[in-house]
Symmetry: C2
Subunit: 272 residues, 2 copies
Amino acid sequence: MSTVGSGMIGVFDSGVGGLTVLEALAAELPSEHFIYLGDTARLPYGTKSPATVVRYALQATEALMQHRLKCLVIACNTASAVSLPAIGERAANVPVIGVIEPGAQAACAASRSGRIAVIGTEGTVRGGAYREAIRRRRADAQVTALPAPLFVALAEEGLCEGPIAEAIAHHYLDPLFEAPRRPDTLVLGCTHFPMLIRAIRAAAGADVTIVDSARTTARHVRRTLQEAGLAALGGQGSLRLLATDAPQRFARIGSRFLERPIEPHEVELIDL
Amino acid sequence: MSTVGSGMIGVFDSGVGGLTVLEALAAELPSEHFIYLGDTARLPYGTKSPATVVRYALQATEALMQHRLKCLVIACNTASAVSLPAIGERAANVPVIGVIEPGAQAACAASRSGRIAVIGTEGTVRGGAYREAIRRRRADAQVTALPAPLFVALAEEGLCEGPIAEAIAHHYLDPLFEAPRRPDTLVLGCTHFPMLIRAIRAAAGADVTIVDSARTTARHVRRTLQEAGLAALGGQGSLRLLATDAPQRFARIGSRFLERPIEPHEVELIDL
């Protein structure tokens, strides 16, 4: 077996969105070595069928398992929702952590009324994984799940603030939050959505707790590694970035998501 | 060889957007038999590298060539821009028609000033195919090409009119059309954009000629078939719909694009 704390943390996403999870992970675990794979050739996963997403996620898992991992984080909500059992079977020797369970857990802890709203891509919402994960923890919860696909396009375009982002946030959220028995908790069930948190917060209202599944997942990963004695004990962390297509675009858009500049030559192109 | 007018018209697109081209084709050529393939498993093409798009387009061409075609229409702007020579080589026995050349031709015919704007996906704009096709016909043309990716998300969401669509149209088009030497012609260089034509026209201004590349391509296909003596001589046309993933979503969103209801069972799932 590997020595304590050695090995990399693999992070898998359908594209650049998971860089919000990576950013949160690097903040929680600054001494870790990360390897991130964005399946940019085949994004988005949110509109694809579960069978296709499972197939793609397993291919990505194979590619990441070529490296010495100590943990595998499935940053993509759609992949977390449908492919976690299959990935867990393939990567049985390391903890595999998706974004759904930590987000559901945080939502259940935060909500007083039990009225919880979830926004995500079509695939995440249709699959019902958040609803199921929340209801498993809190059978009385009233979960409203809503697809908000334009947020993805806004985040990638960098239109995260201003009147257009606000108008779209109101378009999606007003029917939910202007109702009399409004939710008190809102789960951002898509890696892109933390980019729009200000516009989302403004539309939902200041009294609504927003659960950012990137941050909750990062905290969950830290605790898992610490409890298993697998956390790095110090030193400078590192990051390798892999993508299946268009490294220029990955670098340009990813820089905003990761909150630090990425140069195109830092992005290694791989084929799955 | 086949008898006069027999054989199907193959239409290929990365997803549902090409249904605007199919709708225009069916209006021009109501007696033809169409077979449409949307590569929904791998959309969008607009953000992928040219090499990947060529590979996908050739696989789609292979699948459509399994049927008896008399013409192959590449409805996807990105695929038209980068893969037409490769597809033409593979499908050498039938006319292969993309959407770029007819759009460029119509723009050159419509523009008085020679100042022509093109909006499309990132891939189409970055590839520069419209600019090149316009300048080949009109060396003095001043072409401004602009990516407008949010229009794709708006069209798929069905948010084609109203304040959000108008705000986004102004966001993209005001910098172009509020300039002193503004273009007099605007090419809709993405199959999704005809869905937003009212919002686009309102932002561009009533004096700007809008070239809808779906309609111009349909007219070009009709003329090509008529000149080659390949047009159907009457009777009731038909339509087969193929998709590589998510037939439910194809039917739901495609119904708006095709302007007639599509039932999920009408969409045949194929693997490329």
